[in-house]
């Protein structure tokens, strides 16, 4: 199975795993991301900080492998890169408990949630996040057993080799198990679905000609080159 109708293609078969093509992610789940909003999180239009997980979907046209070029549309100087750890679901997860949640995880990978920067989180257009190629992931799926503690993974993001962000899954508001429990309370996740745990703020930015690399302990390095879209 392939995604992206020929202009992008990601092999979903990553033996021994097969990705379903469904990628969900949590926003504002890293303490730094919510903290960056400060008092604004309690003011209009939001009214109150989020109660349930704030989730988004990266559709199949966004999926891309490590090394795929991300295109920057005309009139946009830079894109944002949300560096996340993603859970790869191993078996049907419906109403899982926090304590057993990781039993439903087959493995982990790095997810780069690429967006056109936007200041309002009230009802942002999907054209900021759902563009072709805006969800590079990989470079491979690392088996659950090979990761001692998913709640203590350090993500390092580099732009052209210079370290620009260090973040840890230890600082998630909902760690992996809690998030999986809260999400599967109302939506079942299937084998091969990916759930990105959330990026730290401020998100690193990249302009045309830059290459972003995201590394995580034991998960390898995801390389994302950025180029202006052809006119």
């Amino acid at each position: 199975m392939q995604a992206g109708a020929g202009c992008f293609s990601i092999p979903f078969d990553v033996p021994p795993y097969r990705l379903s093509g469904a990628v969900y992610g949590a926003l504002l789940n890293h303490r730094s991301a919510l903290a960056a909003l400060g008092e604004a999180a309690s003011r209009p239009p939001y009214g109150a900080p989020p109660r349930a997980p704030v989730l988004y979907i990266k559709p199949r046209n966004t999926l891309a492998v490590s090394g795929s070029v991300v295109r920057i549309p005309a009139g946009t100087p830079e894109l944002e890169v949300g560096a996340c750890v993603g859970l790869v679901i191993g078996r049907t997860a419906c109403r899982v408990s926090e304590s057993r949640a990781l039993d439903y995880v087959a493995g982990y990978l790095i997810v780069a949630d690429v967006s056109i920067p936007h200041s309002s989180y009230y009802r942002p257009s999907i054209r900021f996040k759902a563009r072709d190629g805006y969800c590079p992931l990989g470079p491979a799926v690392t088996a659950r057993a090979a990761v001692a503690n998913p709640d203590a993974l350090t993500l390092r993001t580099y732009v052209d080799g210079a370290l620009v962000q260090t973040a840890s899954t230890a600082d998630l508001i909902r760690p992996a198990g809690r998030l999986l429990a809260d999400v599967t309370e109302f939506m079942t996740l299937a084998p091969g679905d990916v759930l990105a745990l959330g990026a730290a703020a401020p998100a690193p930015r990249a302009s045309s000609g830059r290459t972003v690399s995201i590394e995580a302990d034991g998960l390898g390095s995801l390389r994302v080159p950025f180029m202006d879209a052809p006119a």
């Binding site: 379903s20 109150a48 988004y56 563009r131 679905d193």
Partner: protein
């Protein structure tokens, strides 16, 4: 042509209408009640429109924007004809939304509206449930409102585009327990089907199986466990769903 996908006697079958019944691809004729109806095609990306009818936007006190209000849904939320959708106990406002679903048949990338309909394979009825109690002001409409298990009903038939004379002029009706509660016509879409395909394909490649739920007109009402919700669109059939309580799901 109208086609369904159903489970019957140990296998999944393609089926076509045979008077009030169904003819399976292998020749057997069975009744509507004998089969389990699956969504009539394998959905790829599920794209949905909020507030795309002027009357419904007014109903929800929404000021029309200059670009379509689009949100995405996952595959786990999709359900077939004659299924059951759970209403959690304690919620105050759960409502259906009868919508025309447009199924993509050819990859669409930067398609002009004049060419847009050539990328459409066909149509079906969608019922896009929402539970407004869970609405929060972050990335609206949030998934807990709109992407719940069993909350996106598709079917019963996939109808080829060539069999729909004008998708821009189809009457929609919803009945709750037989009482008409919602009426509309796709001619009142704020963003019509060609505009939506042009808008979306400008930034995301649409692939065969991707589906656009084009929004719902006014007339959404609260539904309770046991209610039978029937969504009807001219030429596409009648899509039936029953609201179920928590206990049916072991909660």
């Amino acid at each position: 042509m109208m086609r369904a996908r159903v489970a019957y006697a140990g296998a999944v079958h393609d089926a076509t209408p045979e008077r009030e019944d169904l003819r399976l691809a292998d020749g057997r004729v069975v009744t509507e009640e004998q089969v389990v109806w699956l969504p009539p095609f394998e959905p790829g990306t599920v794209i949905a429109l909020g507030l795309n009818y002027a009357d419904h936007a007014k109903e929800l006190a929404f000021k029309a924007e200059d670009e379509p209000l689009v949100f995405l849904k996952g595959r786990g939320t999709v359900l077939g004809h004659r299924g059951a959708t759970r209403r959690p106990s304690g919620v105050k406002f759960m409502h259906y939304e009868c919508e025309l679903a447009v199924v993509i048949g050819r990859p669409a990338r930067q398609v002009a509206r004049s060419q847009a309909l050539t990328h459409v394979a066909g149509y079906c009825i969608a019922n896009d449930y929402a539970i407004r109690d869970y609405l929060e002001n972050w990335y609206r409409p949030n998934l807990r409102v709109k992407n719940r298990d069993g909350g996106t009903v598709l079917g019963p038939w996939f109808v080829d585009a060539t069999d729909v004379a004008d998708a821009g002029n189809l009457g929609l009706r919803t009945f709750v327990n037989g009482n008409l509660t919602q009426t509309g016509n796709t001619r009142d879409l704020i963003f019509d089907i060609p505009s939506l395909i042009e808008y979306l394909s400008a930034f995301m490649t649409l692939s065969p199986g991707d589906v656009i739920l084009t929004g719902t007109p006014e007339g959404v009402v609260n539904v309770m466990p046991g209610d039978v919700v029937t969504c009807e669109i001219d030429g596409l059939g009648r899509l039936v769903n029953t609201i179920a309580a928590d206990d049916e799901f072991g909660r």
